[in-house]
């Protein structure tokens, strides 16, 4: 199934934007204005709702005319494109996993979703969850080919691994040349602390390491 690659699911939605010439500003512009204010960090709706690796929202104004002799044609609606790369483990492949993801999004960030999609034709709102799910899936386009560089790890596993990578680098740097018994004791304490540490929240920038100076290349 081309939407699926390992345990990652490629979701593509094209939702028609309300075409009302009396609206001022136009609905597509209202979506763009709202998206410009929507946070991309830990307050993002996609960070609050779990399972999103990367996602984008794009107003597609029209198809592209590439020049003669190709024929020029235009869309009757503008479309809101929602492209997301989400966790969907193999046992949840299919609509069950997609329903769970979309429902999680609707429950975690209903105001933001409604603020965006209320400018789309026929959008029922998140209050009616079944209608919301039906609408979103009616706007789904099947992916033809989906590539994922890492296709067997969840968002949580990746955030934890990045935390481990950083902590291990620091541990190695501060434990060079240590006595074996001390090294083992410190490692066991370190690993216990690391395993017990909470998983970092999504979309939070990693803390900057202090700049190392005095290297031979400076």
């Amino acid at each position: 199934m081309p939407n699926q690659n390992g345990s990652v699911y490629g979701l593509t939605l094209l939702c028609p934007i309300i075409n009302d010439h009396r609206a001022s500003p136009s609905h597509d512009l209202q979506i763009r204005a709202y998206l410009a204010t929507l946070p991309t960090g830990p307050d993002s709706p996609f960070a609050i709702a779990p399972h999103t690796h990367l996602a984008r929202l794009v107003v597609m104004d029209d198809v592209v005319f590439v020049g003669a002799p190709a024929r020029e044609e235009h869309l009757k609606s503008k479309y809101l494109v929602f492209e997301a790369n989400i966790d969907c483990p193999p046992h949840a492949i299919g609509t069950t996993g997609l329903d769970t993801y979309l429902a999680g999004l609707a429950m975690a960030a209903p105001q933001q979703l409604d603020a965006i999609w209320s400018h789309c034709t026929g959008y029922p709102g998140t209050a009616n969850l079944q209608a919301f799910l039906h609408y979103m899936k009616a706007c789904q386009i099947e992916t033809t080919f989906f590539f994922a560089a890492t296709n067997d790890k969840s968002v949580t596993q990746t955030l934890k691994a990045l935390q481990t990578q950083r902590a291990v680098a620091d541990f190695i740097a501060t434990h060079q040349g240590k006595d074996p018994a001390e090294l083992q004791r410190d490692f066991l304490a370190f690993s216990q602390k690391l395993i017990a540490a909470p998983t970092p929240k999504p979309a939070v920038p990693a803390p900057q390491r202090p700049m190392q100076t005095g290297g031979r290349n400076e």
């Binding site: 993002s44 190709a70 083992q184 066991l188």
Partner: protein, 198 residues
Amino acid sequence: MSNINGKVYAMNAITPMRPWKTWILRAIFFILGNVKPLQSDLINLSFIQFARWVIIPRNSFPFVGAPQQRELLEYDYLLFFSNFNGTWNQYIDAFSAVLSKGLDLVWKWSEKFPGSTPVTIFKEYITRVQFDTDYYYTAYPHATANDVKNAHIVQQTFDALNRNAATMSPDQFREAYLQFVLSVQTHLGATGEAPIVF
């Protein structure tokens, strides 16, 4: 508009195709999806986190009922979405230099596609068919595709050492720890803000 978030760039492109050609492209993607060695160049480029191609047949744009009007189009459309690390120029240059045959195989069915080499004409075409992203989210903005791959290698190696660390003698642990350091030392690059490039 925000095509960039941290170390990731969101690219969107749409190109028209004559409907009879889309079946050829579907066959190519089917083979590419099922013969994994054919994806090796894409994997080895190592700066693409996720990418997808979506063919929309001319009569298959989503229709949710009135007052939306059905689309009346002559072309099918190929949508391309990529999430990559680095700059637009680096990406297109690398695509052109490394994946030119593969790219040509995918896009030669699109109208007026000039080929991925020479790169100047290719860039002109991409500029024409690309459209900008209005909102872009990533769960790990300061990590590249390679950072993510490396982090999972470190995690796996760390877990393996940790499983037996408590039952080893100090000297056995020291040996195992040195092997661990040798295994992970090339996978420890720090994540952080992207360098400023032009």
